[in-house]
């Protein structure tokens, strides 16, 4: 988990992120990094495509499920564990990608959970 600095740096300054405006190649790399960071958060078991697989980023030759980066909003759909309350998990994801998201809102959707046992 990457702690969010109080004032996020401009998105372009972060390694791995491309141009800040969310053009195709830049947002693709950005989405990939966001996905990795979200997966690294406590309480996140995986990323989810959302209902009907709508939350996804299309990269040349591949499809990144679970993160959709737009001009004004970033959507991240996760599969969570029950280790901690879901709002906390969502906040952790938001903090983890805050520097990449910059001015954009980060909407986190808990799409499913993993329950231990049967």
């Amino acid at each position: 988990m990457t702690p969010a600095p109080p004032t996020p740096p401009p998105p372009g300054a972060t390694p791995g992120s491309g141009t800040p405006s969310g053009t195709a190649p830049g947002s693709g790399g950005e989405a990939g990094v966001m996905a990795e960071r979200a997966l690294g958060c406590d309480g996140v078991a995986g990323l989810s495509g959302g209902p009907f697989g709508t939350v996804a980023t299309y990269l040349p030759g591949e499809r990144l499920t679970g993160v959709s980066v737009g001009e004004r909003e970033v959507e991240i759909a996760i599969v969570a564990t029950l280790d901690r309350p879901l709002p906390e998990t969502a906040d952790a994801v938001r903090r983890a990608v805050a520097d990449l998201a910059g001015e954009r809102r980060v909407n986190v959707r808990v799409d499913d959970i993993v329950v231990e046992g049967p």
Binding site: P3, A4, P8, G50, P51, E73, V74, A80, L82, P85, L86, P87, E88, A90, D91, R94, R95, A98, A101, E103, R104, R105, V106, N107, V108, R109, V110, D111, D112, I113, V115
Partner: protein, 121 residues
């Protein structure tokens, strides 16, 4: 089970960026249903929670709208247990667990005791 989401009010704003940049947290119906079923299983008199539909019974399900949820649970209860008391305990426990785990307020919890039997724990 559609994944209509819900806006969860901000709970720990301190280390986060300004609230207007935070974005929504949505919790899918399926998630609330699973957590409610898990919570219901923790009530001692509840012997089974029917999460999936069966030919003779509807599935337990849930609808989340704007931070509030309506939950429907189908359960098997031990007999003879005082059913009113079991229902009250079940309602209280599920509402508290769902609120804690998801931040969603369960405004209505309908319980159907589909079958009774088996000894008290």
């Amino acid at each position: 089970m559609t994944a209509t989401g819900v806006t969860v009010p901000a709970q720990r704003p301190a280390p986060l960026p300004a609230p207007e940049r935070r974005g929504r947290t949505e919790v899918a119906d399926r998630v609330v249903t699973k957590i409610a079923c898990c919570a219901a299983r923790e009530v001692p008199e509840v012997r089974e929670v029917h999460q999936r539909a069966r030919p003779w019974a509807r599935a337990s399900d849930c609808e989340v709208h704007g931070g509030r949820a309506t939950v429907r649970l189908n359960v098997s209860v031990a007999y003879p247990a005082p059913l009113h008391a079991v229902a009250a305990r079940l309602r209280e426990h599920v509402i508290r667990r769902v609120a804690y785990q998801t931040g969603v307020e369960v405004s209505r919890l309908d319980i159907t005791m589909t079958d009774l039997g088996g000894d008290l724990p």
